[in-house]
Symmetry: C2
DNA sequence: TTGTAAGCGTTATCAT
DNA sequence: ATGATAACGCTTACAA
């Protein structure tokens, strides 16, 4: 070793002074404020201040600190900061799946959150109640500043959601909201969406309209069913109870359900499916039965997934502006986080739009 | 107030002793070990030990501690633990988008991670190099135990990825891997997938096969192109350079590109599109040109998205087993995390499978 | 069996 | 302008 070397081990760095030039060798650990302080013979508080451009630090000190920080690629430890400030700058997003609609919503949430300096933790429950609870529990242990939640289709008991509320942790519900819980909510006006679809089918002259609804306990499913039933009533059309079918959000089940509908005595001449997946399942059954859309049979879906316009026939569907809902949700969440006003009664309903395509357009108008 | 009440404020709890019964009132903060220690007149270390069933704690103490912890709904602060152990039990997943394939892979990653007690932070770059870098930076500040990364299509410089490596933070690349970086990689055998598709088109008698490739700098795109060219060569088919078209992963661009192909003098009679989105764009152009598939024109896509089998004609596609790739990736990652063996040369190639559908099956065989 | 004290990395308060 | 100290919540030697 060179005789000029004055080896000195200061934590993370092995400093060697040589003709007034400091030679640094990085070691395993991440560089910390302590390392810089030690190397520069300053206190950690001074280093901390210098790094954050506090007023009362001499220019030379600041320069020296910043230079060394740069050189050592110092990055503040977010964990330490979070522990200290009791704030993680992270949002926990709990969703049932990552299908088109929710993935799009997550994109919206992500965009707004990123902009505001927040990181998003996406946890998907895969429509499982148990996994939803597990995810909630894990994130609850001080990992997130708040929650943005859309519940699974299995979820019928809301203790885990209420717990978030009890702990006074900011919570916003979106898409699949829970009416009985008093927090801000953002969702599509599902009743209205169903109304648009149903009225459209009536206007096109379909007489016996059936609905392919989702799981019975799910709010969005019931809202869409409500919109459907209200519209029939308004048009003085009697409702055939057999024409209401509930099934999981799954193309195969929808196919079976639609086959059942088509085999009835008084079989329907149109189906309103409350999701495009269900509509596709129905479409397969309708085609298989040799019925032509829109002449013999009408079909309208929900979500307006890109696939709907590519199918033959292209399927009419209710656009739900998933990306916008995502953005609105994140904005609402951030507002809740930063205002001390009680926002628990805020509720945003996004207006849907019906996109009419071949599967249901049989009048030229 | 009752005369028996002996109000005593111990941090998070307001204890009131009344006939030897302790009445607790929860306050704003989360319960901590300190609160329990204070209430039980123990030291924090004893409480800590009791909670973790350490050997040397008296049974009564343990019982009392656990009872109170239960009552106060004590949850250990993960942040504190992470800071202490320098380990977050969180995996950072950086992906370019949340389309079908990656969403499915994330599902696979998620499933394995959850099982192993890890939480996943999904950050999507939206195919933006800038956002990819930002996401990486944010997660790097001690937030995750390691990274699982698939790069954006814009990414041509890998400093941010190399930085992860330099910091000795576990890193696994998947799907869109980078050959020049020496870490474990899991991806589809894209060359082989392209070979299957191309050979199939040749076998079906198509003579002038074009390829709709992706962005030029993207590895998966080049691998698929390589497989394509190799197969032509093996079959002694001359390659028309004009029949290689690069475009972004976007249906509209593919449509335009395909129109261009179809308007050439020596126009192709089949297209191998390296993603289903591209295939769909091509399909629209092919239909528009009045060409019938598979008779006049052959089309094969890649990814085997569910939509491919629903279209008319149903599109042949290369199945890439996204869910399995996701699971394999997470497993590899966990293995890397827990073994000290150097795994940087591990590379898993998943074997693809060609699913033949109407768009390219014109021989009955 | 229990308590004390140091430490994880940072900042804030109070001295100097 | 800088430093010492306590604190965030937890664990772990070490001491009693």
């Amino acid at each position: 070793m060179h005789e000029n070397d004055a080896g000195k081990d200061t934590g993370n760095l092995s400093l060697q002074f040589k003709n007034n030039i400091i030679i640094l060798r990085h070691m395993e650990r991440q560089t910390t404020i302590k390392d810089i302080a030690l190397a520069l013979r300053l206190s950690t508080s001074t280093v901390s201040r210098a790094l954050r451009d506090a007023a009362d630090v001499s220019i030379e000190t600041r320069k020296a600190v910043k230079a060394l920080a740069e050189e050592l690629d110092y990055q503040p430890n977010k964990l330490a900061l979070s522990l200290l400030k009791n704030q993680t700058n992270t949002i926990g997003v709990i969703i049932p799946n990552l299908d088109y609609v929710l993935a799009t919503m997550v994109k919206g949430i992500d965009e707004v959150a990123l902009e505001a300096g927040y990181t998003v933790m996406v946890c998907q429950s895969d429509e499982s109640f148990g996994r939803e609870i597990l995810n909630t529990k894990r994130l609850l242990d001080s990992l997130v500043d708040g929650f943005i939640v859309s519940v699974s289709s299995e979820t019928m008991v809301y203790e885990h959601i209420k717990k978030i509320q009890t702990k006074k942790i900011p919570l916003v519900l979106f898409d699949r909201v829970i009416n009985s819980i008093n927090v801000p909510k953002i969702s599509l006006d599902n009743v209205e969406g169903a109304r648009l679809a149903t009225q459209h089918l009536i206007d096109q002259g379909y007489k016996r309209i059936a609905i392919l609804a989702g799981p019975e306990n799910l709010g969005i499913s019931n809202d869409r069913k409500t919109g459907f039933m209200q519209t029939l009533k308004q048009n003085k059309i009697a409702l055939d109870k057999n024409h209401i079918i509930h099934c999981d959000f799954n193309q195969d089940y929808a196919y079976i359900a639609a086959k059942e509908l088509l085999s009835m005595n008084k079989r329907p001449d149109a189906i309103f499916a409350i999701s495009d997946r269900l509509a596709i399942g129905a479409m397969l059954a309708i085609k298989e039965a040799g019925l032509k859309m829109p002449k013999d049979f009408g079909l309208v879906g929900f979500n307006n997934e890109p696939i709907t316009k590519l199918l033959t026939p292209a399927i009419s569907s209710v656009e739900m502006f998933a990306f916008e809902i995502g953005k609105a949700t994140a904005k609402m969440f951030l507002e809740m986080l930063h205002s001390d006003e009680n926002m628990s009664d805020k509720e945003i309903l996004i207006k849907p739009k019906l996109v009419i395509r071949e599967s249901s357009r049989r009048l030229s108008e």
